[in-house]
């Protein structure tokens, strides 16, 4: 068979050094190249089109394996994208429910004379699971904040003498006068409890959450 093919060659240029390089050799004399798509051969020898679908997802050769793993990684990334979108709409739903709840009701905290200047008073507001701290920083100045650190919800502790609220978990420090973070990992201010004074009584009148 090979001899028949060789007879068709132009003998004048069919030397060992020139064969196949001159462009004069008929292309059909060479063994046909494998299709690059058909490198994978299934154990039963049948064509890939006849194989079950799962076999295309578990290729034998490396190039096809690299392609399939990138395609599957992309599929996984699209699922991650779906998860992020679901999270985004979960925030929309939570915001909608929160707006429906409105502001908490007025609650009496302490009498003015019950807290000396520089002292603090712990309380829970608006529910029993929301610890807060009331500070009398001056004669006629009261401030109250949620005790939940805006970093990871540890309880912040007042240090009135230096005008700070400190989180012992990660060394977060908040300004006592404004509740804004001044050091450490927290980025948002503490939730401030709105206070109202009626005579010599201090009342909590709502929660003020801020981003800056």
């Amino acid at each position: 068979m090979a001899d028949e093919r060789r007879q068709r060659l132009d003998v004048r240029i069919d030397s060992a050094g020139r064969e196949g390089l001159t462009g004069t050799t008929p292309s059909n004399i060479y063994r046909p190249l494998h299709d690059a798509e058909q490198v994978t051969t299934a154990p039963d020898g049948r064509a890939m089109e006849e194989q079950p679908a799962w076999r295309t997802d578990f290729p034998i050769d490396w190039p096809q394996d690299h392609y399939v793993e990138r395609r599957d990684f992309m599929k996984f990334m699209v699922l991650t994208s779906l998860a992020f979108t679901v999270g985004q709409f979960w925030i929309v739903a939570q915001n909608w429910f929160r707006r429906g709840r409105g502001q908490p009701e007025l609650v009496r905290l302490v009498g003015v004379n019950e807290v000396p200047v520089g002292a603090t008073q712990m309380f829970a507001y608006p529910t029993a699971h929301d610890p807060c701290v009331l500070v009398r920083s001056a004669d006629n100045e009261f401030v109250a904040y949620s005790q939940k650190c805006t970093h990871l919800s540890c309880a912040v502790l007042p240090h009135v003498e230096v005008g700070e609220l400190r989180c012992p978990c990660h060394e977060g420090i908040f300004d006592l006068a404004s509740g804004r973070p001044i050091a450490g990992p927290p980025r948002r201010p503490l939730s401030r409890v709105r206070l109202e004074r009626h005579g010599d009584q201090i009342f909590a009148a709502g929660i003020e959450e801020r981003t800056v």
């Binding site: 690059a36 392609y67 395609r71 599929k75 994208s81 979108t85 709409f89 925030i91």
Partner: protein, 78 residues
Amino acid sequence: MSVKRRFTRAQRATIVNGMLAFVLMLIVLQLWLLTATMNAYLGRDQSVIWPAAVASLLCLLLNIGLLRYLYQIERTRQ
């Protein structure tokens, strides 16, 4: 009349790599949107919640479109 092109495996590998780069950029954008929106939500800033949700949805649709195109290429091959 649409002509279905038949891509070689090397071409498809390049296409999937390019798509992956776009998808990863969109994912990072979505992650940033989610964290920024959560921060705004916790701070009672409601102005960004809906626009961020719509932007995230658009990113998802773009990602799904790219994935569909990839599977379309797969079908064309067979």
